[in-house]
């Protein structure tokens, strides 16, 4: 891992978050990173934290071993076709473009190339992504391990079959928005009950963060954790009752499912 050079075609916010995460957690040195972007400002940002911004996609490819395709989905094919003649066995192409299938990556990059498709999510920007990956082309377990090691520095990544990526989109891809909605509503509840807005906001966000960490770190079932906090005739069970009356569970299931279906529609039409 220490000797792998990483390249970014497209140096936007996601690419920056990934690059900074890799550097901060020591999985790659800044001087072993290359990046390109049509916008000069973005190249300057990448220069500012010690990487090597260059002017062309081809130069990124010839300088790197692992290449992140971080451009907008509509440009992925164009970019891969451009660099195709320069792709070698050592290269692993990692696409983070939503909705771009392994097949279309293969069509653009050619046969015999190591392809990895990743669906990250916005909290990648704060180093807390929930992501999934699938392999294509000539990619093997060593590529999976490499990508896993990289993404562990900015959150967590899980391997799935490509056909499940729509479900991942519906759950972790779109999921953050459902949580933003919930945090705002919890804060509203606090304000309704007499708290000043800023205190309600902080308590709401911290409660959501802490509870998620309880699930992640204790490994206990959500139902068991809920039971543990609901004392007889107490405040918590009264709150839970309101959520159950309103069919909140079904609403969240519906949200994930509807977003998944939309992802499927987009994949078909794209």
């Amino acid at each position: 891992m220490a000797d792998k050079r990483i390249g970014f075609i497209g140096a936007g916010q996601m690419a920056e978050a990934l690059a900074r995460g890799f550097i901060n957690k020591g999985v790659c040195k800044a001087e072993h990173m290359w990046a390109t972007d049509p916008v000069d400002e973005r190249k300057e940002v990448f220069r500012s934290f010690g990487t090597n911004p260059v002017d062309g996609n081809i130069e990124v490819v010839t300088s790197s071993d692992v290449i992140f395709i971080a451009v907008k989905p509509q440009y992925v094919s164009v970019v891969l076709r451009e660099v195709r003649p320069h792709l070698e066995d050592r290269h692993t192409i990692v696409s983070i473009a939503a909705g771009i299938t392994l097949q279309s990556l293969k069509d653009a990059a050619g046969d015999g190339i190591r392809l990895v498709r990743v669906m990250p999510n916005t909290p990648c920007l704060v180093g807390e992504t929930a992501a999934a990956m699938c392999l294509g082309g000539k990619a093997d377990d060593s590529d999976a391990q490499l990508v896993q090691r990289l993404f562990d520095s900015v959150g967590k990544i899980y391997r799935v079959d490509e056909k499940l990526l729509s479900a991942v989109t519906g759950l972790s891809g779109s999921g953050p928005a459902y949580i933003f909605l919930m945090i705002e509503a919890l804060a509203d509840g606090g304000v309704r009950s007499g708290l000043p807005r800023d205190i309600a906001n902080q308590l709401a966000a911290q409660t959501v963060l802490g509870s998620a960490k309880m699930v992640l770190q204790t490994g206990k079932h959500c139902g068991a954790l809920k039971d543990m906090t609901c004392s007889p005739a107490g405040t918590t069970i009264a709150g839970i009752h309101e959520l159950e009356k309103a069919g909140t569970r079904a609403a969240f299931m519906n949200a994930v499912y509807a977003a998944t279906q939309r992802a499927d529609e987009l994949a078909k039409s794209g």
Binding site: T122, P123, L125, V126, E128, T129, Y158, K163, L164, A167, V168, L171, S172, S174, P176, A177, I179, F180, L181, M182, E184, A185, G189, S193, L195, A200, N201, L203, A204, T207, V208, L209, S211, A212, K213, M214, V215, T218, K226, M228, T229, G234, T235, T236, A238, G239, I240, H241, E242, L243, A246, T248, R249, A251, M253, N254, A258, T260, R262, L266
Partner: protein, 272 residues
């Protein structure tokens, strides 16, 4: 809750096993505390335990169930002086109750913590009694900050805090489970769905705290409005807005508002 706080204090090194003593009634609880390395474990508060704790400590945390508080306060009162700082985490037990039971000069603080203190990510609010000094307030802040976020509030706001951050974790567990169920419905294996759901919730909450990620700071500066974040990720005719439309049609916002309000109301009923 008491155990969560102790574990949190030890993990963050704001205290050490040798400087903590506990009075517990249950033998099982005594064993559990021995296993964490707490050296001084005394028996039932009402059976001599209170005296021993008061002799050992300068800061006393009352973590008993609200219904046991009357007895515990009675047992503690003869042994507590104006040298002690007494911190109660018992829901619904007012500062007035504490001050009347323990004696007029005693310094008391009332805290509403929450269980994620166990993983150093708690959300607590506290109200100061009338004899409390600025130094006491600093001690409370130090202790509670070691296990997460804390903020000073007026006593009358503690019922709302109970409804929101005290009871809130249960609402979040419900939501995480439901999101994982949605993932399973969409075809993901349970383990993957749960891991993605929980991590997504953690990541999203972290984003609300903004770039500096300082969730343990009591400043609201740098926090990003959740509505702004939601707008940023909901692209036109995309997957996210499709999911959000379901939540809005089901009145999920109202459900959470009612959950917090009803729990706060229940806290008020219990306390009076």
């Amino acid at each position: 809750m008491g155990e969560a706080l102790i574990r949190g204090f030890l993990r963050s090194k704001v205290s050490s096993p040798g400087r903590i003593c506990v009075s517990v009634r249950d033998v099982e609880r005594q064993d559990a505390l021995e296993r964490i390395g707490i050296g001084s474990i005394f028996g039932d508060a009402t059976d001599g335990g209170s005296k021993e704790v008061a002799q050992f400590s300068s800061v006393i945390l009352l973590c008993t169930k609200p219904q046991a508080m009357t007895e515990v306060l009675q047992s503690l009162a003869p042994h507590v002086t104006s040298e002690h700082l007494v911190i109660s985490v018992a829901a619904g037990i007012t500062l007035q109750t504490l001050e009347s039971a323990l004696g007029e000069g005693v310094r008391v603080v009332r805290v509403m913590p929450n269980t994620p203190a166990l993983v150093q990510c708690g959300a607590s609010a506290y109200a100061l009694g009338k004899n409390v000094t600025a130094r006491d307030a600093d001690i409370v802040d130090l202790l509670l900050s070691s296990v997460g976020f804390c903020i000073a509030v007026e006593e009358k706001q503690l019922d709302a805090v109970t409804g929101l951050s005290g009871s809130g974790p249960a609402y979040v567990y419900l939501m995480i489970e439901a999101m994982a169920d949605g993932g399973v419905m969409a075809g993901l294996p349970r383990e993957t769905a749960l891991a993605l759901a929980a991590k997504t919730v953690a990541g999203a909450a972290q984003m609300v705290f903004g770039d500096d990620g300082g969730s343990n700071s009591s400043s609201a500066l740098g926090m990003v409005h959740p509505g702004v974040l939601k707008d940023r990720v909901a692209s036109p005719a995309g997957t996210t807005i499709a999911g959000l439309a379901e939540l809005e049609s089901s009145g999920v916002r109202g459900a959470f508002i009612r959950a917090v309000s009803r729990a706060a109301q229940r806290a008020k009923e219990i306390g009076s």
